[in-house]
Symmetry: C2
Subunit: 184 residues, 2 copies
């Protein structure tokens, strides 16, 4: 059972006039509740060739290493979201360069967007959602302890592009994985 | 006054524990309602050098020309959303090439993402949200009758890139405009 956010009365799933998908529609005031995919924005922040990673203090994937990233908030641009998450989760300032990778994960209604950026100094500190934060050379990246497939794809593409001397924009679509479908 | 989508009781705006932004929180069951930016995905679909535009049959900007675009839905990738919107609004099939432009419009909590694609045939037909659909050469584009600034930016970048023989990935952030802040 669901309820209308506008009036509190019962809402039911139905196809509104002119639409072709089921939505939550209020039986009293007619308000339509749209549930859309969420955008998670993150950052590959580099300091003198080393990449900033955070070890997660929260589920899912508690204890695994990740790029600073999180749900985009209202009132900000995607680049601002990337810088904010880097500040919040890794206590690090970052100068954003450009969007780098876009990963659609349709089965969990998420889009992950990663930026490239440079840290003006090697200052960082674990935020509330991180157990620890550290800078890793390409050889040091903990591939077996990464949090999410989107993070792995992003790091692989980043290191390959850096090796080639040219950063592109990368797109991926992730399907459910047998063992960790919910993890993205 | 707002209500909880889970239990129908009153919800109030407050900062949940561990958060730093105000959210709609249920006073009874504690459910937190997150309101995040929405992703609008569109497509520049080309047929033999001509670009597919739709004249809007709905507000906002009814009667103005736009690229096929719309809210991304759950369960699809961004590229699938671009192809779906092209089919729904312009009745046209399109082979998606790559993401082309990302426009953040923070003051209306929207991100516009446009893809490049090619039409396998010049078949198209106005969908329910379009008054008419047509193919335009670069010289024919109705610049004064375009719907949104993001559409204009996208078309300008596309034509410039095509002229230069290389398509990049473009990012923009749009601030409120004096006369049409709500239009994006
Ligand atoms: Zn209602
Ligand atoms: Zn509740």
């Amino acid at each position: 059972m669901s309820y209308c956010i506008q009036c509190g009365n019962a809402a039911t799933r139905q196809v509104p006039p002119g639409d072709n998908l089921h939505r939550l529609v209020c039986s009293v005031c007619g308000h339509i509740h749209y549930d859309n995919p969420r955008l998670i924005v993150g950052c590959i922040a580099e300091w003198q060739g080393r990449i900033l990673l955070c070890r997660r203090a929260i589920e899912p994937r508690l204890g695994y290493w990740t790029l600073p990233a999180g749900f985009m908030e209202n009132g900000e641009t995607t680049a601002q979201a990337a810088a904010r998450e880097t500040q919040e989760e890794a206590g690090a300032r970052v100068a954003i360069d450009a969007a780098f990778a876009l990963v659609s994960i349709a089965h969990i209604n998420q889009i992950h967007l990663f930026y490239r950026g440079r840290m003006p100094s090697p200052a960082f500190a674990a935020g509330e959602e991180s157990l620890e934060v550290a800078l890793f050379t390409a050889d040091e990246i903990p591939w077996r302890e990464l949090s999410f497939r989107s993070v792995r794809l992003c790091l692989e593409a980043y290191l390959a592009d850096r090796q080639n001397g040219h950063f592109g924009f990368h797109e991926h679509a992730l399907a459910p994985e047998h063992e960790s479908a919910a993890s993205g």
